[in-house]
Chain length 182, copies 4
DNA sequence: TATGAATGAGTTTTCATTCAT
DNA sequence: AATGAATGAAAACTCATTCAT
């Protein structure tokens, strides 16, 4: 029930944005009465927060796992493994990822998947810097650029109904580590 | 008067988001009565649209100029010049740029500065591909990544009250063309 | 509840006209909150339309019945029966009849009781023409005049709190069929 | 100037009703600024009232004249002359007559042409009664019916862009005095 | 006198939240 | 727990009226 409600909310937010998902519509789509929403969530904000936290609870472990996935490998291979894992995780939650990226700057969605992605990438880049693979003075920039590039790529692919596969992941990693020159 | 209203709207949207700027507050901050807003804009949507179009009218020529800024130069220098120009333009409109990037996916803000940036970068990357500097098979990815990285960097700097200067621009270009390796 | 709201609207419109019945007053008189109105009607226009349609649904069958009331009788007797029935029906809905006649030409009230009356009278007059009782070349005029005269008489009686009884009906029919000469 | 404003108001009211004629539109159509309206009329109500009074000032004398038009003639001829005169007067002010009849029951238009018509007809009918032509017990009814029938006929003809000529007038008089029988 | 931008009270409309069943 | 009608505060919108120029 709770998750049926959250899925209904997710659908509507994905389609119409955060302010295009009134409780009446969420309830209708979830097949329950409005009043029922209040048996599961204190208020609208809490419902939205719960949606983001539910997905976060699923995605954060996978992001964490993605960091450790390539442990022992050379840095490039490790980053490649990381991005492949991230893409796989996002692929499994396309609708929410769209929502998470699009509403990233909204008051109601602080500290959610977008932030988790950022901090995970930070962590990974620091490893590269410590290993001397990534130029120290470029590491902050790399982290920011990688996060931005990844989100842009993901959103693009989701919006055009294209897959997020390993080739896509490898391409992004090559670009960021070796540049775009021919 | 019209622009005082739009600036008030910009301030409020920058502070509280698109749905955190009721007409009563906009009017108050602009120092006019609510009714006055309707002397200048058909309705709330039109006011918001006008804000984005006003800034767009200022920024688009600068983005276009940024593309031609480095004409004749080698591609890397040209991209460098482009990003420096873009940063200079964004620096002059920090508040709006924050708003434009944060609300990029909102129903009320289609075809605005964020799109102009994307298409401008597209154009530039195509030149690099034609010149053989950018690997053809990487050009789409480069355009997406560059747009995403640039927006992420800009937003980060604006949010932390840091400048968007030439050094920042050069760093981003190096990263994208040559990669992050030490 | 729905009909309490419509009755409140009817009262206010009868007293102050269509534009003298704001939703706040309708709600107050109906003993509900303003928001409640929107649980029953899409918007103000829909509420007004519903009022006219509700009464129409009641009155139209009675007008139809009035046409058949005198079937088999000689034409004059038939018309007499018709007008008596109409008066009885109107008598039972004085307040609405007042509203319906007074707002007959308003944008929000097309195709309502006033039109039904007109078309019903048309039908009846055609019967009289076919039977040769009414001069063919006078039938259109008779229909128009009868409708106008009937509405004027009804409105007059309602406004002066006078009854609409059989004598009144018979008087009108005599006048229209035989003229006013002594 | 004043009459240009009143004509603009008349046009708009004829087209959209009393509540479909905001001052801004009236001013625009009259080719003046809103503020100017207040140099000629105390407020909106006064403007509307002035429109009705201006026309009334023109029409009332013609209605009065219509009563005396047939003095000396036999009653039927006199009524015929009266209705012909009325039709001629109304024909010359079709737009206003439409407005006057349609808004007859509005708060802002008491004691105007519609009432003048009624009282004029009353007067005429009384003459017929005194002369013994109209049955005394039918005179009130005749007056009401004649007024209603006349207004209905006029409105019908104006709405369908048909003329109000002498034949039309004669037809109405015959109907009311002699009835519709073949 | 003419102008038309500015005003703000009045009205409509939305929607999260409550609560009796 | 589930329901959904009722609520009313907040927001959008309209328009007669004012007033500085």
């Amino acid at each position: 029930m709770k998750s049926a409600i959250l899925e209904a909310a997710e659908d509507l937010i994905a389609a119409n944005g955060l302010s295009g998902a009134p409780l009446a519509q969420i309830a209708k789509r979830a097949g329950v009465a409005v009043g029922t929403l209040y048996n599961y969530f204190a208020d609208r904000d809490a419902l939205i927060a719960a949606l983001f936290e539910m997905r976060r609870a699923t995605l954060r472990p996978r992001l964490r796992a993605a960091v450790t996935a390539g442990e022992g490998l050379a840095f490039e291979a490790r980053v490649r493994a990381f991005v492949r894992e991230v893409f796989a995780a996002f692929e499994a939650h396309r609708k929410f990822i769209k929502v998470a990226i699009e509403t990233e700057h909204h008051r109601l969605t602080p500290g959610t998947t977008a932030k988790d992605l950022m901090s995970t990438i930070d962590e990974l880049v620091k490893i590269g810097a410590k290993e001397g693979i990534v130029a120290a003075e470029r590491s902050e920039l790399l982290a920011i650029a990688m996060t931005g590039a990844l989100k842009a790529l993901v959103l693009r692919r989701i919006s055009s109904n294209a897959k997020l596969d390993d080739a896509e992941a490898d391409g992004l990693v090559s670009l960021l580590l070796d540049g775009a020159r021919a």
